[in-house]
């Protein structure tokens, strides 16, 4: 994984954004930006090229699922890997996210090890898919 990659963290709780940001820093990723819901995230994504999106699901304004769908529907953004980190753990929700094209799904509360494992998995799959 490229340690300089640009990562957008989307969560309505600033504490959770901070926790994810700190965990990413622990993993060597310092190039992070934050947004507090899908509505603020989308223009940021369109304006700058991001390599990875970590998003919550349940947010006011625009949910993580809608953000994911918007990313997949936008030709310029559609290839961006999206990792969902959420407290939503119902089977139907997870299936919805998978069908919408999520790259990874982590349920809160989670650990740094889980985050690393899922990120490595996502980039490994992307590389093997691109090869």
């Amino acid at each position: 994984m490229n340690k300089d990659m640009k990562i957008l963290i989307v969560d309505d709780f600033s504490t959770m954004r901070r926790i994810i940001k700190n965990l990413l820093r622990e993993l060597g990723f310092n190039n992070t930006t934050e947004a507090d819901d899908g509505q603020t995230a989308l223009p940021i994504l369109k304006k700058n090229k991001f390599d990875f999106v970590v998003t919550d699901w349940n947010m006011p304004g625009m949910t993580g699922l809608d953000l994911l769908k918007a990313i997949r529907a936008d030709a310029a953004l559609s290839a961006t890997p999206v990792l969902m980190v959420t407290a939503e753990r119902k089977r139907e929700n997870i299936v919805d996210a998978a069908q919408a094209g999520v790259n990874g799904y982590i349920v809160k509360p989670f650990t740094a090890a889980t985050l690393r494992e899922k990120m490595e998995g996502i980039f490994k799959r992307l590389e093997s898919g691109a090869a």
């Binding site: 407290a87 119902k90 929700n93 349920v107 989670f110």
Partner: protein, 246 residues
């Protein structure tokens, strides 16, 4: 409206009489019997409606006199909202206070780690007699400085860990607040159940069950209240996703 009308021997006799009159083409007599039947039905219906109306009226009166429901609506719910807002504030503060302490501790620990490694290298060279007198004096000075660095940083780290410790006090406070809100919600629930029971009597036969949106978000699972489709762990989520081709 689904009224239970008692069907007894009287009704049976009336029905027989009605058939008899119709067979004899006695339309007038048949009409009389039909009127009788309808009268009985109507009076029973009116009685039933009257009873329900009285019940509703009485119950509404008790709601008005004990003022509980209106109190809950006017004071209880805004009060609960404020309390829960405060819980968010407290937990937010505690989380930030903890995160700040962690963020400040990490560079201190990293610095100690790096410095210890450097000095460890020099010390190994000294043990292997791979060091001249000047370098030895330099190392001695650096070790002396390192002792001061360790003492200073360790006490700083200790102070920040204390901060983390103290930040956890939010749990006690928020626990008490939430417990009160739970009590208020319980009171409200009891009152609403009483109302629903009355409304249910008026609407028997209607499908009162609201259509639950199975896919709605339910937030963090509350122990003991998980739905059947709630994944218990990250492992279960992973299993589900791998079944979906991940």
């Amino acid at each position: 409206m689904n009224m239970r009308i008692t069907i007894g021997k009287d009704n049976l006799d009336q029905a027989r009489a009605l058939v008899e009159h119709l067979e004899q083409d006695d339309v007038e007599a048949a009409g009389r019997v039909l009127d009788e039947i309808t009268n009985v039905r109507e009076s029973e219906l009116f009685q039933e409606v009257g009873k329900l109306t009285r019940e509703v009226h009485d119950t509404l009166n008790t709601f008005i006199t004990d003022k509980r429901l209106s109190q809950v609506a006017e004071e209880g719910i805004p009060d609960a909202r404020d309390r829960l807002d405060y819980v968010i504030t407290l937990t937010d503060q505690a989380a930030h206070r903890t995160l700040t302490a962690v963020e400040e501790c990490q560079p201190l620990a990293e610095k100690l780690d790096a410095r210890a490694n450097e000095l460890g290298g020099a010390w190994s060279r000294f043990l292997q007699r791979d060091m001249n007198a000047d370098d030895f004096r330099q190392m001695s000075r650096e070790i002396r400085e390192f002792f001061d660095l360790v003492a200073g940083d360790a006490s700083q780290i200790n102070g920040k860990l204390n901060d983390v410790l103290m930040a956890q006090e939010f749990q006690d406070l928020t626990g008490q607040i939430i417990r009160r809100v739970i009590g208020m919600v319980q009171d409200l629930e009891n009152d609403l159940v009483r109302l629903i029971k009355i409304a249910g009597k008026l609407n028997e036969g209607d499908d009162a069950g609201a259509d639950d949106d199975e896919k709605s978000l339910e937030g963090p699972p509350i122990p003991g209240r998980e739905s059947d489709s709630t994944m218990a762990s990250q492992d279960e989520v992973d299993e589900l996703l791998s079944g979906l081709g991940f």
